[in-house]
Structure formats: C-alpha cells, structure tokens
C-alpha cells in the first residue's frame, strides 16, 4: 500500500505551557512495497509520526492517505486501518500479557473474528517469520523467554494480523548483536517475500544503510532530507549537526581517500567496502 502525508502538523498538550509542536508541516510519499528507514535524533518526532499512520494520534492539521483513502477524515473506520497498518511499538515486549506464546500471538487475529483454523495457521506463519519454533514454544509463558525472544513474539503478534504496511519502532534496541542480526534478517526476508510496505525506525545508521530503499530524516519535527541511503549519507556534515552520523565504513572510506585511495565515496556497507578495498589493492599491484 502507498502512503501519502500532506502538511502534517501535530502539537502535544495544546493550550498548556508545555505545548509542543512534535510534527511541523511534514509531507512525504511512500510507494507500495518500499522499505523505508526513518531516522532522526531522540525527540525528533519519529514515534509521533508513525502513530499517525495507523490513526492512533489525530493530526492537529494536515492529511494522511493510505492508498487513496484519507484516514484523517471524519468517520473513518479506524479498526480497519489498524488492521492494514501494523505498528510494533518501542519495547513491544512490555505489552505481552497472555499465559502462552500461542495466546499472545493469536490475540489480534481472534479479535478480527477469524476461525480457529485460520488463527492457527496465521500464528504458525507469524512465528516462523520471526524464527520462533512453533511446536517448542507455543505453550511456553512469554515471561519465561529471553529479551530477544520476547521481542520476536511481540513482533509476531502484529504480523499475525497480516497488515499491508508494517511499521517497526526501533525493533532491535536492547538486543544482543546476534538477536539484532536475526530480527533484521527476518524483516528483510519478509519484505522480499511479501512485498509489504515497511517502515523501520532506527538509530543505527549501519542497519538502515543495509536494509532500506529510501530514508526519511527527521529534525525537530520536520522531515528535512529524503532519498536513497547513498544519497542521504552524502550529507555527512548536516547529519552530524542534527544528532546523526553516517555508517562507520563511510568514515573509513573518507580517511582512505585522504591517503590517496580512490574509493567510491558512496560506499555505505561493510561488504561494499571490502570489495572496493580488495579491488583497489589488486589494481595497484598490477
């Protein structure tokens, strides 16, 4: 599904001394099936923005279209919107509450009024996507799982609704490197297979460089830069001045080029850097 945001402004606590403009005239478009990385300093408005995309927050002004439907208009069926746009919150495991993994993941589909068989098949599918063994874990209490496992079960709960748009708010925060890699790999595979539209909120420049088709950069409630990761990461100084950075390998490439290597400045992943360095050294040897 495509998403279109027009002149979206949102203020918290309007009319109090703490009134805060969290989103300031934000506009962008996301095409069907795109993988978007949403980055920005803490407090830049990322979580506020994504909560608008499934109707949890109402704009102070502006509109949002999902495909061609205006979801910010009066009288929209928000339950249906939330089914189409699945949102995985920051630290979603805090919202696990059922006695077993099965019950937790099936909570959403059950509320959709699906039959038993369909529910079971969705739970199986969702757990397989996040790499949790169905037979081994379906009857286990979520409270007995490790942090990374809980996180995955929480993500499966949203996947089981089979949304058309999946939004993940820092899904790897607090996970160990292996857990981080596994979840990102799961998400990547999911995107490949399902062609779902995905929005990944992240503080890891390395991760969005690796995964996203396009980046949206937030700064103090405004979306100030967007483009492919390679385009966006060309703005090294701007990104640093607004609390962000570029992937570590990009700094390495810059240093190497200062020493006379002639590497492509657009390198943003470890594997690209590896190939380019090997090629450069071999070329010189000849």
């Amino acid at each position: 599904m495509s998403i279109k945001v027009n002149n979206l402004t949102f203020k918290y606590m309007v009319g109090t001394p703490f009134e805060k403009t969290a989103l300031d005239n934000v506009s962008f478009e996301i095409k069907d099936g795109e993988f978007i990385g949403l980055i920005g300093h803490t407090g830049s408005g990322k979580s506020t923005l994504i909560q608008h995309l499934n109707g949890l927050l109402k704009p102070t002004s502006g509109e949002i279209y999902i495909d061609d439907e205006c979801i910010t208009a009066k009288g929209v069926d928000l339950k249906r919107i939330r089914q189409l746009v699945g949102l995985v919150f920051q630290y979603p495991e805090h919202q696990l509450f059922e006695e077993t993994v099965f019950k937790d993941v099936s909570y959403g589909p059950k509320n959709l009024g699906l039959d038993e068989e369909e529910i079971e098949s969705r739970v199986k599918w969702a757990l397989s996507i996040v790499g949790i063994d169905y037979d081994k874990y379906k009857d286990v209490s979520p409270f007995d799982l490790s942090g990374g496992q809980k996180r995955r079960v929480a993500i499966a709960g949203v996947l089981a609704m089979q949304p058309k748009v999946l939004i993940l708010d820092e899904p790897t925060a607090g996970l160990d490197p292996k857990g981080r890699d596994e979840i990102l790999q799961n998400i990547k595979n999911l995107h490949k297979k399902s062609k779902m539209t995905i929005i990944l909120v992240s503080h890891s420049m390395d991760d969005v460089a690796e995964l996203a088709d396009k980046l949206i950069v937030m700064y103090r409630g405004k979306n100030i830069i967007q483009g492919t990761p390679k385009e966006v990461f060309r703005n090294v100084e701007t990104l640093e001045s607004i609390g962000l950075a570029v992937p570590q390998v990009k700094y390495l490439v810059q240093s190497l080029n200062k020493k006379g290597f002639n590497l492509n400045e657009d390198i943003i992943t470890v594997s690209e850097a590896k190939d380019a360095i090997l090629k450069a050294l071999r070329r010189e040897k000849k």
Binding site: Y12, S44, P177, K259, V270, A273, I277
Partner: protein
C-alpha cells in the same frame, strides 16, 4: 584498598514462572574492579549482566559468595545507604527510575536524599542536565519525554549524586548517534577527570573500544576478559557467543579472510587505514 568492587564466587538464582527449580542466572562469578577503572561488560541477552550489576548496589544479595563495594559487604544492611551512595546505577529501562513529575526535581532527588545543600543541589542539577544536553527540558514532565530523552534524564540523576562508581546498564540503547557519543564521552570524562570508576554494560561493541578492560559473560559466568584489543581479536569466539566486534574489526577480519596480510587486532578506523596504507 585498591578495588572499588570485589565479586567473590557469586551465585544467584531466580524462581521462574510455575517451575519448582530455581534458575541459576549467576554461576560462580569472580570479578574485581579497580578504583578508577573503566570496565565494559558484554554478553548475549540473558547472560546475567543485569543480574550481576544489581548485586553491586545491593538490589540483589548473593545466594552464595559475597560482594564488597568500596570496602563494604552488601550483606551488611546497616551499610545499604552508603553502598548505594558509593555505587550509583543507571538502569536498563528509564521508565522504572523516574521519581518526580518535573525533570529538574527528578535529577535533584538523589542529592536531596543525601542531604546535599540546596544551593549545591541547584548547581549539580544544572551541570548534570547540561552534560546530557537536557537543559531545555528542565521544567518538563519526564514521563512525556521521548525514550532517548528519558534515558538522558536518568543519567543526569546519577551524575548529580557524584558517586565514586557508576554502573550503567545499556545507557545508550535508545539514543541517536550523537547522544550515544555524548553519553560515552561524558562517561569517559567522569572516569578520566574525576577518577570515577565506571562499569558499563552494552551491546554496542564500538563503545567498548576505549575501556581499560572488557569482560564477556555467557550463561552466568565470565568466559573471557582482557583489553578491548585482546577480546575483539577473538572474532570467532565472540560470534559463537552471539556477540560481535566493531565494524572496522569485522571489515579487517573479512579482508584478512580474503587473503590480505593485515593485523588481526584492529579496533579503530585509524589503525585499519594505517594497515591498508602499508599494503600499497
């Protein structure tokens, strides 16, 4: 006394959901942290890092073994207050440590309880909030801040207590790159300039690069330790333990695997640049 913290053969178990047997989260941990040391603890999820850290300010007491903080045994209840004042803790989840309804009051809470003079408190609160770049928010309500902002306020709260030792349990998990850098810089400064002992738990391997020592936990035990260079040169061991190495170390490792003759223990960009320049 040269050790800030001594952990002697500590065991600790949790009762898990409807299971009769205790689950041993710590299985004989031995660790001495020197006064003024900057120690980083890494380990996969559930390896026992938080459980261990909560022993240092006496939230948990060992089932077996003992923990000595600044010369005091954590089992000595009469010392509880002194122990917590010596060893300040920034918890993994900032939501659990907000105590007041206004940011500056939240930061003042610790020093107030310690009986610090109001004038001095104001000074400390101001400089602590500045150190984490949250001055702008001093009059805001902490529970309405973004995740990363809450984390910074929690750190400021500990800074304002000026403890001898600070334990930080994944303090940068929700921060943006600058925030992460600033927190790490702040920690390093406290360590270098004020001699505060630092115990930093993290999943970001880059943050361990400047530590005096890195300790690796696995299933309730310490399985490796050494300087960052020593520890990160064990790329395969770390990967087996569900961990990782800094991105440049990874790249150096990959380049070596592809046949380049470079050092195995590279942990900074400058080192890799130097190595590669020598190959030309």
């Amino acid at each position: 006394m040269e050790n800030m913290v001594e952990i002697n053969n500590v065991f600790y178990g949790y009762k898990k959901h409807d299971q009769a047997e205790e689950f041993l989260a710590l299985r004989g941990v031995n660790l001495k942290v020197k006064i003024g040391e900057f120690l980083v603890v890494i380990g996969h999820n559930g390896s026992g890092k938080s459980t261990l850290s909560k022993h240092i300010n006496a939230i948990y007491l060992p089932k077996e073994g003992e923990v000595i903080v600044n010369g005091m045994n954590t089992k000595d209840i009469s010392k509880l207050w002194d122990i917590r004042q010596s060893a300040g803790m920034v918890f993994q989840n900032p939501d659990n440590q907000i105590v007041a309804t206004i940011v500056e009051e939240d930061v003042a809470f610790g020093p107030e309880n310690m009986g610090v003079e109001p004038k001095e408190i104001r000074k400390r609160v101001e400089s602590a909030l500045k150190a984490v770049r949250m001055e702008e928010y001093s009059k805001h309500a902490p529970h309405l801040l973004s995740g990363g902002q809450k984390q910074r306020v929690a750190i400021a709260g500990i800074l304002a207590m000026k403890p001898k030792c600070i334990i930080l349990d994944e303090p940068t998990a929700m921060l943006d790159p600058s925030g992460r850098k600033e927190v790490i810089e702040t920690i390093k400064k406290l360590n270098k300039e004020e001699g505060i002992t630092i115990i930093l738990i993290t999943h970001f391997m880059e943050e361990a690069v400047d530590a005096d020592r890195v300790v690796v936990m696995d299933d309730g035990k310490i399985v490796a330790e050494g300087t960052p260079r020593e520890v990160f040169s064990k790329v395969e061991l770390l990967k087996k333990l569900g961990l990782d190495v800094p991105q440049v170390t990874e790249l150096a490792y990959e380049l070596k695997k592809s046949g380049l003759n470079i050092r195995q223990d590279i942990i900074t960009i400058d080192e890799l640049v130097e190595e590669l320049c020598q190959l030309r």
